[in-house]
Amino acid sequence: MQSVLYHALELFGLCLGIHVLVWRTCPVRNQGIRLGLIFLVLPVFALGAGFAATVGEIQWLTWGLGYVLHFALSGSYIFFYTAVSGASPSIAILERVENNMPHGLRRSDLVPEWFTDARLSGARRENLLATGFIRQSDGVLVLSLRGWLIAMCFLMFRRFLGLPDVAKG
């Protein structure tokens, strides 16, 4: 078990190091694709090379288990990264309140200046259009096939959990 744990942690640490290095040295474009390459594709080659070098000594199951842990940690990091790369309105509100403690803030003062329709729903709509999840047809926004599949997965997931189809926001 020791080798499984050590291999997985070394692999994740190596991928994290490469990610930091790439982000600090190159202008970041196509962040999702780059993250996927670094954390999910590159380790398959690394594990393949490791397996080929030690075949006969360590069973492939050890490497497979190591990859499962690496995959869980990488998935966690990729989800964390979505918070790092985007802006969270909730955290921005809480930071404003914290700066005005102990008195706090009135409701009208809670909202930062950059909370505009264009920056919130407008930016998201443009992003969905640019990435091809929705398209405009005769002035009306409709889902593309890719968008329909993702929306359907979320809808089924929420119905399975017994939650309303759309949350409050």
Binding site: M1, Q2, A8, V20, W23, R24, L61, L65, V68, L69, F71, A72, L73, G75, F79, T82, V84, S85, P89, S90, I91, I93, L94, E95, V97, E98, P102, H103, G104, L105, L110, V111, W114, F115, T116, R119, L120, S121, R124, F133, I134, G139, V140, L141, L143, G147, W148, I150, A151, F154, L155, F157, R158, F160, L161, G162, L163, A167, K168, G169
Partner: protein, 179 residues
């Protein structure tokens, strides 16, 4: 080697276990009449229940057979906890996206209602309404409270999370805030 196979199977199937436990727990809570309970709390409860089951099954089907020393046992349990923790965090984020992500809200609304004009969408997801629902949620999650007409912090958890995120943004040389 069968122990390794069992450990892999338990680790990979854990997120399904959390999802099923979450579905059962949310229905039990609704049956008791607690409709306003935040789904994020229910998910944490489900993950805690499944953690006990996963640790027990991992030990009885795998770790007790493949671990040969105390250090091995420690590494085995650490492996189970890290893998389970990682998958639980992924599950929690998928749930959170379905609750709070505007991208997901827009796509789900389009799925249910069919086509919507850009103007109608902007009206439906106005900044004002979004902020109101976020304030309500932060009160429900115990982060914010109203006192003498002013909002004050009830918990610093999300503020600390915000600081960690900003620290990591500095390391990656990303912009700190859109404001």
């Amino acid at each position: 080697m069968n122990g390794f196979r069992a450990l892999g199977a338990v680790s990979v199937s854990a997120p399904v276990g959390i999802c099923v436990a979450h579905a059962v727990l949310s229905r039990v809570i609704r049956y008791w009449g607690r409709r306003s309970f935040p789904p994020q709390f229910v998910a944490l409860g489900a993950a805690a229940i499944v953690l006990i089951a996963v640790t027990w099954v991992s030990w009885s089907t795998a770790l007790r057979y493949v671990c040969e020393s105390r250090l091995d046992v420690f590494c085995g349990i650490t492996y189970v906890l890290l893998t389970y923790g990682g998958f639980s965090w992924c599950y929690f984020n998928v749930l959170n996206a379905s609750e709070t992500s505007l991208h997901v809200h827009i796509m789900t609304s389009l799925l249910i209602e069919g086509g919507v004009s850009a103007k109608e969408l902007s009206r439906k997801y106005s900044a004002k309404d979004m902020i109101e629902s976020r304030i309500e949620r932060m009160i429900a999650l115990g982060q914010l409270m109203e006192r003498d007409g002013c909002f004050v912090l009830r918990s610093r958890t999300l503020v600390v999370v915000g600081r960690v995120i900003n620290g990591w943004r500095k390391i990656l040389r990303l912009r700190l805030s859109p404001g």
